[in-house]
Symmetry: C2
Subunit: 210 residues, 2 copies
């Protein structure tokens, strides 16, 4: 069996999205800056259909991680944007448009039942209305020997953590203070994690916990 | 001139003390666990008058850092405990007792004027009633060529950050979720920091920012 891994980028003050999330800016104010470490990487560019890019230690890490992902789990807001409702355009793939970059089944945790949507690249959005644990279970079945990546946002990630569904956390800490927004690990029970490893590039600190 | 360095240990969810700080538990519930990474180290034990201890990479880091510290700045609560008032015992060195481990002048930011208190080991508590910037200025003068270490707690650290008084942040991230308590970097303006380096032992992740 693969592992269930939360792979997420957090600001130094604990946010995975900035304040005032909207459909146009689902990561909130300055939230896109969280992910600046990943955009130049060859593996990320390749996943998004672009040539070239940086072949660094960060790139090797991202490439190795992506290669093992067999399914993803994400929240409704990460799927369709901050205030957005894909109900307005039932054929669209949410905020991700017509060419979503996932290449694997993506289980979207939502209150709105909807038919699955499939794309040529292998992305298939499946809408799960009975909670994060059900989404992770379906993702596990779809992933088989590969990993399930819990991608966010804050609510789904924190719910998965609270429910004990995660085998591992790959946390990327951006050297950024957002001052507010969507807090990761809000209102969790106190407890300790096993620290496996940490490393940084100039752009982010990468920490693995079990 | 030395540098002004915030040297502080934070939980993964952003707290430098747990909930319900009291005189007996100034670090709040489970807050002492933040510092478990430092207690076994030879350099920490030596600073506290104890023999032996671990000579690891963490130890070398702490030893190098302590060797450069010429003065410290701390908040009143870190000095005297969560709900405590040293006014009850004007001869005592606050929560730190009769043998405080600092060996350098310590500038305590407080609203209560008080005569300085001096100890044989070189610790001298000086009480500064006109704010963090005044405390840092006095500490700079006392430290000379050596560094000023801003030690905490959350309020003083965050105030020093907001006021732009810090040259560097040596942040230690403990693999711990406290679920509440004293938040570091609360209500700061959004902004980015320069990430210098990161490394981890099994006990904590150490990240340096400018």
């Amino acid at each position: 069996m693969g592992e269930v891994i939360l792979d997420i980028t957090m600001s130094l003050d604990g946010y995975v999205a900035g304040p005032n999330q909207t459909l146009e800016a689902p990561l909130g104010e300055r939230g896109m800056e969280l992910h600046e470490w990943v955009f130049p990487l060859k593996s990320w560019r390749s996943q998004h259909g672009m040539d070239g890019g940086e072949e660094s230690e960060d790139d090797a890490m991202v490439a190795a991680s992506l290669a093992k992902v067999g399914a993803q789990v994400m929240g409704r807001r990460m799927f369709s944007g901050g205030s957005g409702s894909w109900e307005n355009d039932p054929n669209a793939g949410g905020w991700w448009g017509d060419e979503p970059p996932f290449h694997v089944p993506v289980f979207v945790v939502t209150h709105h039942p909807r038919e699955a949507v499939e794309f040529d690249d292998g992305t298939r959005f499946v809408f799960v209305t009975d909670g994060v644990d059900a989404a992770v279970e379906q993702a596990r079945a779809a992933a088989g020997e590969r990993d399930v990546r819990v991608a966010g946002g804050a609510d789904v990630a924190t719910q998965a953590f609270r429910a004990g569904l995660l085998d591992r956390i790959d946390l990327h800490i951006a050297p950024l203070l957002l001052g507010g927004g969507a807090k990761l690990f809000a209102d969790v029970e106190p407890g300790s994690l096993e620290l496996v490893a940490a490393r940084s590039s100039q752009r982010a600190t990468h920490v693995t916990y079990r």
